[in-house]
């Protein structure tokens, strides 16, 4: 027990990897067990996540190893280069960790029907989870980078092998795009390393010595920004996202939108903010503008889409804009709203992609105009989808309202005009979601779909936890806000002054 408590984070990170190895080692004949192994090795981290949620001290704030980061594990890994195995979480990362732990089991549930190359699929998926968890726990930049790259590879194969008709194009686009970001990150990382004495990748030390990087601060910031902006994705680096989503299998879309997009914003907050505070402040208006562009541009593009999955992908771009706007505002409301929005977007967009997958499995297409009147045939599916759409358009009482309103409220003080422009996003959001409901579900039922089966229990099971979370966090978001309030307040005061 002691051992478990001391290595909670490592366990969360590597349990899925153990599962992956198990699957690889088992013979192909025991294929049916793969799902169950994947199920268990994603559920265990979820249990640990709950434990972390309970044990997490909500009051400490700081950015050093003694003050601020919790559940710390620190060992020397490659002594020659002063590289450490250094894990730890604070109010910023815990939420992302919880989100990852939550979404992965649901994704396994959503992948139950995969019938091609089970061994590869599930082992790669578990490897991906290890990568994601690792990124959110790492406090050593080198380790962070390693996990970042660990995510990349399984993602490439999962899209490229199990994806739709244009999967190879999408996978390569995704891979190359992200790689460009990685390279920039690598260069900045090396610069950090060589500018500290003694050389280190330890993020807490880099934060302490942030004055060393003042010279090239703006360039470094921008290089990192491009790397992270590709992930978020920020206009104009976003076009890989719709392609990747359209081709990726359902569960992978969920992970992509639910967790991977958060990596970019997380990276900015974890690395750029505290290590390059002056440059961050300098670029804050720029960040806010990019956020507003994302919100409005993404919403307009979403409105024009004909493919349901592309629509959700563009809505993701729009919703991630709120994250940028909120964190650029340097108000506590804004920055808390931004991180909460990352979490809420994770749950809501996961619902949306699972729902798109449900109808795709049945109708074998995703053309919005190809449907019509489904409500009378599949009422339960319609109800859940309408719920998810209303969550997406930020209906008060559901979780995204809390985060969006916090972002806008926070940003309003600094960027009044931009916030008002961003506010039109809530009108456009209503427009494209309602229009989609109308075209897909309402009106007369097309005879083609007279036999369409309604959503089944397994699918409901993969959505129910998300529905509950979206409602609960809409009415009672305080437990989650309490998790991050102290850390983000500290970050805000350190960087924003």
């Amino acid at each position: 027990m002691e051992l478990i408590n001391e290595h909670l984070l490592s366990l969360m990170v590597f349990l899925p990897l153990i599962g992956a190895m198990l699957i690889v080692l088992l013979p192909k004949s025991s294929e049916q067990s793969f799902k169950w192994i994947a199920c268990i090795t994603t559920l265990l981290p979820l249990i640990l996540a709950y434990k972390i949620f309970v044990l997490f001290n909500r009051d400490v704030a700081g950015l050093s190893i003694n003050q601020g980061f919790q559940f710390v594990e620190k060992f020397s890994w490659i002594p020659a280069f002063n590289i450490e195995y250094f894990l730890g979480i604070d109010g910023l990362s815990i939420l992302m960790l919880l989100l990852t732990a939550l979404l992965c089991p649901l994704c396994i549930l959503a992948s139950w029907n995969i019938n091609k190359g089970l061994k590869g699929y599930f082992s790669l998926f578990l490897l991906l989870e290890t990568g994601m968890m690792g990124v959110f726990c790492s406090l050593d930049f080198f380790l962070f980078y390693v996990f970042w790259e660990v995510m990349l590879l399984p993602m490439y194969f999962l899209i490229g092998v199990w994806g739709g008709p244009r999967r190879e194009y999408a996978a390569i686009k995704f891979f190359l795009y992200t790689l460009v970001g990685s390279v920039l990150m690598l260069l900045v990382m090396l610069y950090f390393y060589f500018m500290t004495e003694p050389h280190t990748f330890d993020i807490t030390r880099l934060i302490a010595e942030h004055k060393n990087f003042l010279g090239f601060g703006h360039i470094l910031w921008f290089a990192l920004y491009i790397g992270f902006a590709i992930k978020i994705p920020v206009f104009p680096f976003h076009t890989w996202l719709p392609d990747a989503h359209v081709e990726a299998p359902t569960a992978i879309s969920v992970i992509l939108a639910g967790v991977l997009l958060k990596m970019g914003a997380y990276g900015i907050l974890r690395i750029s903010y505290p290590i390059l505070p002056e440059a961050t402040l300098y670029f804050s208006t720029f960040l806010a503008i990019m956020g507003v562009i994302n919100i409005v541009y993404g919403a307009l593009c979403a409105m024009a889409q004909k493919d349901l999955k592309k629509l959700v992908a563009y809505s993701s771009i729009s919703h991630m804009g709120y994250v940028l706007l909120g964190m650029a505002s340097f108000t506590e409301e804004g920055i808390n709203g931004a991180v909460l929005q990352m979490f809420n977007h994770g749950t809501i967009t996961a619902m949306l992609f699972i729902l798109v997958g449900v109808v795709y499995d049945r109708a074998h297409h995703r053309e919005i105009d190809g449907f019509g009147g489904l409500a009378s045939r599949v009422p339960v599916y319609t109800g859940i989808t309408a719920f998810a759409f209303f969550a997406g358009l930020g209906l008060p009482g559901l979780s995204s309202f809390v985060s969006e309103v916090l972002v806008l409220l926070g940003a309003f003080q600094k960027f009044t005009l931009y916030t008002i422009i961003a506010g039109t996003g809530i009108i456009l959001g209503a427009a494209y979601f309602l229009w989609t409901i109308q075209r897909v579900f309402l009106g007369k039922l097309d005879a083609k779909y007279a036999e369409l089966p309604d959503i089944n229990i397994r699918e409901i099971l993969s959505l129910a936890p998300l529905v509950v979370i979206v409602v609960v966090l809409g009415v009672y978001p305080q437990p989650v806000l309490d998790l991050m309030k102290a850390s983000l307040g500290y970050l805000n005061s350190v960087v924003g002054g």
Binding site: L176, L300, Q305, T331, V405, L406, V475, L481
Partner: protein
Amino acid sequence: MKEFIIHYAHIILLFPLLGFIINGLVGKFLQDAFGKSICGIIASLMVCASFALSLGIFCTLSELDPRSRLFTITLFDWINVGNLHTSISFLFDPLTSVMLLIISGVGFLIHIYAIGYMHHDSSTWRFFAFFNLFIFMMLELVIADNVFLMFLGWEGVGLCSYLLIGFWYKDKANVIAGNKAFIVNRIGDLGFIIGVFLLFWAIGSQGIWTLNFAELKEYSYLLENLYLGNINVVTIICLCFFFGACGKSAQIPLYVWLPDAMAGPTPVSALIHAATMVTAGIYMVTRLSFLFILSPVALGVIAITGAVTAVFAATIGFAQNDIKKILAYSTVSQLGYMFLALGVGAFSAGIFHVMTHAFFKALLFMGAGSIILGMHHEQDITKMGGLRKKMRWTYYTFLVATIALLGIFPLSGFFSKDQILWSVFSSPYGSKSLWLLGVFGAGLTSFYMIRLVTLTFFGRHHHTDKAHDTLHEVHESPKVIIIPLVILAMLSVIGGFVGVPHIFGGSNILQVYLSPVIADAELNHYPMITEVGLMLVVFMCVLGFAYGAYYLYSRKPSRRAKLIERFSFPYKVISRKYFVDEIYQHLFVNNIMRTMRFMARFDMVVVDGLVNFAAFLTRIGAYGNSWIDKVFVDGLVNGIATVIGSLGSRLRKIQTGYIQDYVYVLFASIIFILLFRFMIA
């Protein structure tokens, strides 16, 4: 009992929520198992329970000392971050209790009515689930104790409105009307939320971080001298809030959704789009009256918007033939009156009119619903006529409601409308010209209503040609529909007595009851004769227009045709609703659609195009590189190899293998070396 209510009054929300959950989750099974009425009965009982509790709250408040007539119930923190502290907490004061009584009381009657009206529908469970959800949201809206929580109910009722307008979703027109309602409301909501932000930061800049009504009221004076440029911040805040109210309460320029909203089932029109939801804007402004009173400019804007809307919408009512559309424009117009009242600082008069209007307008809609049922879903009044004899109960109740709406003594509408017009005349914020507009609007109201009544109930059945027997088939509605009509008719008659003006020897009970919450503007004093004289003027005006309508539509229809012919252009403009929908379509919708298509193409062609172009360039580069590699780099390597090879093959020829050749070369070399040495030496 009193203790219980002070601590648990918020369970008023629980009943309709429970009804929503029951009907939403298992309503379909209940409906299949116990018949269609069961869902309606459950829903009605829930609202009835809420009504009972509203009465309890009202009594509890009445027993308290007038100065301390309020209590709050706080459940838990909602959003508590940085400077923002909001909690899920509820405020009960006289204003709230009046609204609660209206919502749950009228709501209960309409629920009963809906059991009858929706009897033939196949998914009553869905209808009553949404209906109860609406009651929940509306109650939440009025008991919320802070602006954010109010916004929850505010958007929530919008959601229910959307769901119920498009209730018969198989017809695309209904769905589009629902979308329009929601989106137009959202445009207003943007104003609302910006108002909230501005208020939050403005009052925060004075060191008070709150969005709680009670605290805002206490500290609102801090805002008085804040300026943004030349404009008082309070004015901007109030205008933002008012823009939100324009959306919900269907005022110019955002009224366009309400007439379309009539696509929903008639009980929905009665409850949501006449009696309750559309008055949310009035409630909100009244709730924030302490802010609005600080800004004469904002009050002026409200008064003018209200008056203009009242007249504007009434004129559209002239030339509509759909019975529900006429009533919808009438609602827009009456809401205009309420805003006119608010705009002159007569907040309690506005709430008074909310109440009486809830009675008679709900009754009008329900009567219209009864007619529609009786006419087998015919809504065109030009195809009706003579219904007086066939539908007696409907006729009498409808007539009562019409008289109440016209504001004829002593029915309820008289008292509330009179109070509004008198306030407009005598308030320091009011003016004579606004009063004239109001009187003119009252005349117009009387015209379109008498036109409606005449065409519907009087004369002969207009449908003589093809279906002389449709009239025989017209039937009076069942009791479950008639009883609510009768109760509402009684309320429409007596509802005004809570606000009898002083000149009739009454004391304005409602105004006194509301006075701890609402600070009405002090009215200027005029001699009694003025007040009575003005009443008579209004009465004559109403009567004149009423006779005009009766004359044109019953006595001399031929005159009517001539008039229309003569004024064909204005008539066309009116009957096409001033082309506002077309103008909006052209100005906003089309442009947004164009922008969106442009953006999507831009994204695909330019942004993604650049990415693919970069990829293309890289590939070209790669090909070029590989060519260079092949030709030059590899070429060099191969070249060297070739040179060495060919050199070797040539040199190989020297190695002939004959010993003589080698001896020749040896000698030749020795001679060459010797010669060389001699030459150098």
